[in-house]
C-alpha cells in the first residue's frame, strides 16, 4: 500500500483526535454499554446462560411458598468446554420453596415413613422432566413419601423440624463416590444440629446481594465462554462421544475412603434412629463400556460390584446397580448421549433395580 494511500485512509482516524475527550468517552462507554446490554439480556432470558437447571435456580430463584417451574434447556457439564452443544434436553423443572426439586413429599408433611434421598445431578434429574426423576419413580413404585434432597441443604435436611425421615438413601455418581458427602461437610457428625440448622426457605430476590451474585455469575459465564473461543486445543463444537474422554480410575485407597465415609454416615444417622442405604449411579463408560470401546482398568471396571460387596460385608445396605443396569442396557440405551446421566428409561430401570433389591425393605417392602 503506498504511503499516500495509507495517509489518506488513516489520517481520518486521527482527525477524531481533534476531540480527544469525545474519543475517550466513546472508548470507555462502549464496553459499559455492551455489558449493560448483556445484563439486560441475562435478566430478560436467563435460561440461555445456563448449562444446568440448579445453577439457574441457585442464582435466580423467586421466593415463595409455591413450587417454581421453569421449562429449561440443559446441556450438561461436558458442554462447558465447547462453543456449541451436541445435545440439549428441554424439560419442565420444578423446585419447592426450599429450593429442592419436587418429588412426593413437601416440607411440613410429617410422615414417619418418609425417605430422604441425597445425591448430585443425577438424583436432581438433570436433563429429565419432573416425572422422570428417580425419587418420583420410586414414589410411584412404592407409594410412600420421598423427598429429593439433592443439590441444596443435603445433610442438614434431617435437622429441619418440617421433616420426620425414617431413612436416608445416599446416591452418588460412580466417578465422585459417596466420599463426596464427607468431603463437602467434613464435620457433619461433630457439630450439633442447632449449630448447623440453616435457613431453609429461599430468601427474597432483588436485593443487592442478588444483583451482585448474578453479575458475578454473568461475568464468569462470559469469561468462560470467551475462553472457549480463544482456546485452540479443542474443537468449537462438542463431539458426540465427548464423555468417553472423561476417564476415572479407582485405587485401593479410594475403596477405603468410600467405606470409611459410608460407615461414618451410617453411624451418625443410626444414632438418630434413621436407616441408611448407599446407591451408585454407574457411568456411561461403565455400563456401555464394550459398546463404546472404552479402555478401563480392573479396579475401575469392578468398582461398583466390589464396593457393594465390601459395604454388605460391613453391614451397610447397597445394591449392584451396574449388574442390574447392564441387563437393561442390553435392551436399549439407558444413558443420555453426550453425557453420563441416566435418561428417563434409565431411571425407570434404576427404580426397578431398587424395587427388586434388599434396599426395598426401607420402602416398607
Amino acid at each position: 500500500m503506498s504511503s499516500e494511500l495509507e495517509s489518506s485512509i488513516y489520517i481520518f482516524v486521527f482527525s477524531v483526535l481533534m476531540k480527544p475527550k469525545r474519543i475517550l468517552i466513546i472508548i470507555f462507554l462502549t464496553p459499559c454499554l455492551l455489558f449493560a446490554l448483556l445484563v439486560c439480556s441475562y435478566f430478560a432470558k436467563p435460561e440461555y446462560f445456563y448449562f444446568r437447571a440448579w445453577e439457574f435456580f441457585d442464582n435466580l430463584i423467586i421466593s415463595g411458598p409455591y413450587a417454581n417451574t421453569q421449562f429449561l434447556e440443559e446441556s450438561g457439564d461436558s458442554s462447558r468446554a465447547y462453543l456449541s452443544q451436541a445435545y440439549t434436553y428441554k424439560n419442565n423443572i420444578s423446585i419447592n420453596h426450599y429450593g429442592n426439586r419436587v418429588a412426593c413429599l413437601e416440607p411440613g408433611q410429617l410422615d414417619h415413613r418418609s425417605i430422604l434421598m441425597l445425591g448430585d445431578s443425577q438424583l436432581f434429574g438433570s436433563g429429565l422432566d419432573d416425572n422422570d426423576t428417580l425419587p418420583i419413580r420410586l414414589c410411584e413404585e412404592f407409594q410412600i413419601p420421598i423427598y429429593n434432597g439433592s443439590r441444596l441443604h443435603e445433610l442438614n435436611l434431617t435437622s429441619s423440624k418440617e421433616f420426620n425421615f425414617s431413612s436416608v438413601i445416599f446416591t452418588a455418581s460412580e466417578r465422585l463416590g459417596i466420599k463426596r458427602f464427607c468431603m463437602a461437610a467434613p464435620d457433619f457428625d461433630k457439630a450439633s444440629s442447632a449449630d448447623t440448622t440453616p435457613p431453609y426457605s429461599l430468601k427474597k430476590s432483588f436485593t443487592l446481594n442478588f444483583l451482585i451474585q448474578n453479575l458475578n455469575y454473568l461475568i464468569g459465564y462470559l469469561q468462560s465462554r470467551f475462553s472457549v473461543v480463544t482456546q485452540l486445543t479443542l474443537p468449537w463444537k462438542a463431539p458426540v462421544a465427548d464423555i468417553i474422554s472423561f476417564q476415572h480410575t479407582k485405587s485401593d485407597q479410594d475403596y477405603q475412603d468410600e467405606l470409611k465415609c459410608a460407615l461414618r454416615l451410617n453411624q451418625h444417622y443410626s444414632k438418630k434412629g434413621i436407616s441408611t442405604a448407599f446407591v451408585y449411579f454407574p457411568s456411561q463408560q461403565t455400563i456401555l463400556r464394550e459398546t463404546l470401546l472404552v479402555k478401563s482398568d480392573v479396579t475401575t471396571d469392578e468398582f461398583i460390584p466390589r464396593m457393594v460387596d465390601i459395604m454388605n460385608v460391613s453391614g451397610l445396605s447397597s445394591l449392584d446397580t451396574k449388574r442390574c443396569l447392564l441387563a437393561a442396557a442390553k435392551e436399549g440405551r439407558v444413558t443420555q448421549p453426550h453425557d453420563t446421566h441416566l435418561n428417563g428409561s434409565g431411571m425407570r430401570a434404576m427404580s426397578q433395580c431398587i424395587k427388586e433389591s434388599k434396599i426395598a425393605k426401607l420402602f416398607g417392602r
Binding site: 504511503s3 495509507e6 495517509s7 485512509i9 488513516y10 489520517i11 481520518f12 482516524v13 486521527f14 482527525s15 477524531v16 483526535l17 481533534m18 476531540k19 480527544p20 475527550k21 469525545r22 474519543i23 475517550l24 466513546i26 472508548i27 470507555f28 462507554l29 462502549t30 464496553p31 455492551l34 455489558f35 464468569g220 462470559l222 469469561q223 470467551f226 475462553s227 480463544t230 482456546q231 485452540l232 486445543t233 479443542l234 474443537p235 468449537w236 463431539p239
Partner: protein, 497 residues
C-alpha cells in the same frame, strides 16, 4: 503485576496517574519522584528479591556516570571500561553463570574430573534491558553527549515501569529531555486518547491473538519434550503459530508500553514496524525489535564493522569481503542471539540470522536478473515468501529448549514423521489467518501514530475534518473482549529475556 491484569488496570494505573498529575501541578520534581517510586514498586511486585540488584545497578551507574563527567580523558577511559565491565559482569553472573557451569561440566565429565556445582542464582527480571540502557548512557557520557541529570530523573529513566521489564530499550536522548518538559505534567487529553488506543491495541494483540496461538504452539512443541515427534502439517502449523505468537506477544507488550507512557505524557519509541511485511532479512531486522537493533547497530555493529573493515583493507577482494562483512555480521548476530538467553539454541538462532544477513548482502551485490525486471510482482512475492520462511524456520530454533529438539522439529517439517492432519482443532487456521491479516494488511500502531512522516513524534493532526466515532467504538469493543480475557493472565514471552 502484569499490564493485562485487573489489579494493574483498575488499581495500580489509576492511582499512579491521579497522584502523578496532582503532584505535577505543584511540584514537577515530586511527580518525577513519584513515578520513579511507583515504577520501583511495580518491579518489586514482580520480584522483591531483585530489587536490591536493580537498586545497586542504578546507584552504581549514576555514581560512575557522574565520575565520568567530572574526570579528564585518560581517567575517563578507565572509568568507562570499568563501569561497562561491571555491568556486563553482573549480567553475565545472573544470566549466564549456570550456562557456563553446565558446559564446563560437559568438558569436565569428558576428562573424568569432578563437576562444578550449579549456583542458586535467581535471574532478576529485565536485567538485560536495564543493563543495556545504562551502558548506552555511560557511553554517551564518555562521548560528551549527555548533560548532568538529577538522580530522580536518572532513576525514572531506568525504572520507568512501562519499559523496565521488556523494553523498548530507550535512549536517554529520546526520553530524558521529556522529563524537563513542563508539558508532561499537564493533562493532555490528546496524548491520553492516543495512549489508551495504543494500549488497547497492544492488549488485544496479546490476549486475542498471541495467547490463543501460543496454546497451540505449546501443545506442538511440548509434544516433543513428551516424546512425540510432530508430523508435517502440525509442525508447520506449530511453527507459524509460534512465529505469530512471538510477534503479537512482543509487539503487543511494546504497544502497551508506548500507550501507558503516553498516559503520563511521555513518548517512548516504537519497537516494531510490521516485520512480516519485510521482503528481505535486512529489511526484517529494520522492522523487528527496532530498539535493540538500533542499540546494537549504534554501539556494537558500527564500531566492530569499522574495525574489521580496517583489518580487511588492502587484501584480496574475497578476503576483504570475509573480514569486513561476514565476520562482523556473524559475530554481532551471535551476540544478539546469546543476549536472549543462556542456551545454545539462542546462539544457533543468532548464527542462522547472521548467515541470512550475509547471504542477503551478497545477493544485493549481484546484478538484478532481467527475468525479474519483467516480473516485478513475482519477485516481490518470492522475496516475501523466502523472508517469511527463513524467519519462521529460525524461530523454531528460538523456541526449542534444545538443539536436538529443534532438529526433531525440523525433521517433522520435512515430513520425516508422516503427513499428519488438522486434528480436532481446525480453528488454528482461523487464528493464523487473523494473524496474517493483521500483520500484513492492517496498519500497525506506528502508522496509526503518524502516517506521513518518518519522525514519530512530529504528529500534527489536520484541522476541519469530521470525527467518525467508528474507530473509537472498535477500540471500545476490543477493550471489552480483552477484559473478558483478564481472568487468566499470562506473562509476556520477552519477560524471560
Amino acid at each position: 503485576m502484569l499490564f493485562n491484569s485487573y489489579e494493574f488496570i483498575f488499581t495500580f494505573l489509576p492511582i499512579a496517574l491521579v497522584v502523578y498529575y496532582a503532584l505535577g501541578r505543584y511540584h514537577h520534581e515530586s511527580a518525577i519522584l513519584w513515578l520513579g517510586l511507583v515504577s520501583v514498586f511495580f518491579y518489586g511486585y514482580w520480584s522483591f528479591y531483585s530489587l536490591p540488584v536493580l537498586g545497586l545497578s542504578i546507584v552504581a551507574n549514576y555514581f560512575l556516570g557522574n565520575e565520568l563527567q567530572r574526570r579528564q580523558e585518560e581517567v575517563k577511559k578507565i572509568i568507562l571500561i570499568l563501569s561497562i565491565a561491571l555491568n556486563l559482569l553482573a549480567l553475565a553472573y545472573f544470566k549466564y553463570v549456570n550456562f557456563f557451569i553446565d558446559n564446563t561440566n560437559i568438558l569436565l565429565s569428558n576428562i573424568g574430573a569432578e563437576p562444578w556445582r550449579a549456583l542458586n542464582v535467581i535471574l532478576p527480571i529485565g536485567i538485560s534491558f536495564f543493563t543495556f540502557t545504562q551502558i548506552a548512557y555511560l557511553l554517551d557520557i564518555y562521548l560528551d553527549r549527555v548533560k548532568k541529570v538529577s538522580f530522580s530523573n536518572y532513576m525514572l529513566f531506568v525504572t520507568f515501569f512501562p519499559h523496565l521489564i521488556a523494553g523498548p530499550i530507550i535512549h536517554h536522548k529520546q526520553v530524558m529531555p521529556q522529563f524537563s518538559n513542563e508539558g508532561i505534567f499537564k493533562v493532555d487529553l490528546e496524548k491520553i486518547a492516543i495512549g489508551v488506543i495504543i494500549f488497547v491495541i497492544g492488549m488485544a494483540k496479546k490476549l486475542l491473538i498471541a495467547d490463543p496461538l501460543g496454546s497451540y504452539a505449546d501443545q506442538i512443541f511440548g509434544g516433543i519434550s513428551g516424546g512425540s515427534a510432530p508430523m508435517l502439517l502440525e509442525s508447520w502449523l506449530g511453527s507459524f503459530a509460534y512465529t505469530f505468537q512471538l510477534y503479537f506477544d512482543f509487539s503487543g507488550y511494546s504497544d502497551m508500553a508506548v500507550g501507558l507512557s503516553l498516559l503520563f505524557g511521555i513518548i517512548l519509541p516504537f519497537n516494531f514496524n510490521s516485520p512480516f511485511k519485510a521482503r528481505s532479512i535486512i529489511d526484517f531486522w529494520q522492522r523487528w525489535h527496532i530498539s535493540l537493533t538500533k542499540y546494537i547497530g549504534d554501539y556494537l555493529y558500527t564500531p566492530i564493522t569499522l574495525f574489521f573493515m580496517r583489518l580487511g583493507q588492502s587484501r584480496s577482494e574475497a578476503l576483504e569481503l570475509f573480514i569486513s562483512l561476514v565476520t562482523p555480521t556473524i559475530l554481532i548476530f551471535l551476540i544478539l542471539g546469546i543476549w536472549h538467553g543462556a542456551n545454545w539454541t539462542f546462539v544457533f538462532f543468532g548464527g542462522m540470522h547472521g548467515v541470512y544477513v550475509v547471504v542477503n548482502h551478497l545477493w544485493r551485490r549481484l546484478p538484478e536478473q532481467s527475468f525479474f525486471k519483467n516480473f516485478c510482482i513475482l519477485k516481490i512475492v518470492l522475496a516475501w515468501i523466502c523472508t517469511f520462511l527463513a524467519v519462521d524456520i529460525a524461530f523454531v530454533m528460538f523456541r526449542s529448549t534444545s538443539i536436538s529438539e529443534a532438529f526433531i522439529f525440523y525433521k517433522g517439517m520435512m515430513g520425516f514423521y508422516g503427513e499428519g492432519s488438522l486434528g480436532s482443532s481446525p480453528s488454528i487456521l482461523f487464528f493464523l489467518a487473523a494473524g496474517l491479516l493483521v500483520s500484513l494488511v492492517l496498519p500497525n500502531t506506528l502508522s496509526l501514530m503518524n502516517s506521513d512522516s518518518k519522525e514519530i513524534f512530529n504528529y500534527r493532526p489536520p484541522s476541519g475534518r469530521a470525527a467518525p466515532a467508528v474507530f473509537a467504538v472498535y477500540i471500545g469493543l476490543l477493550a471489552f473482549l480483552c477484559l473478558l480475557s483478564l481472568n487468566h493472565p499470562s506473562t509476556f514471552l520477552y519477560f524471560q529475556f
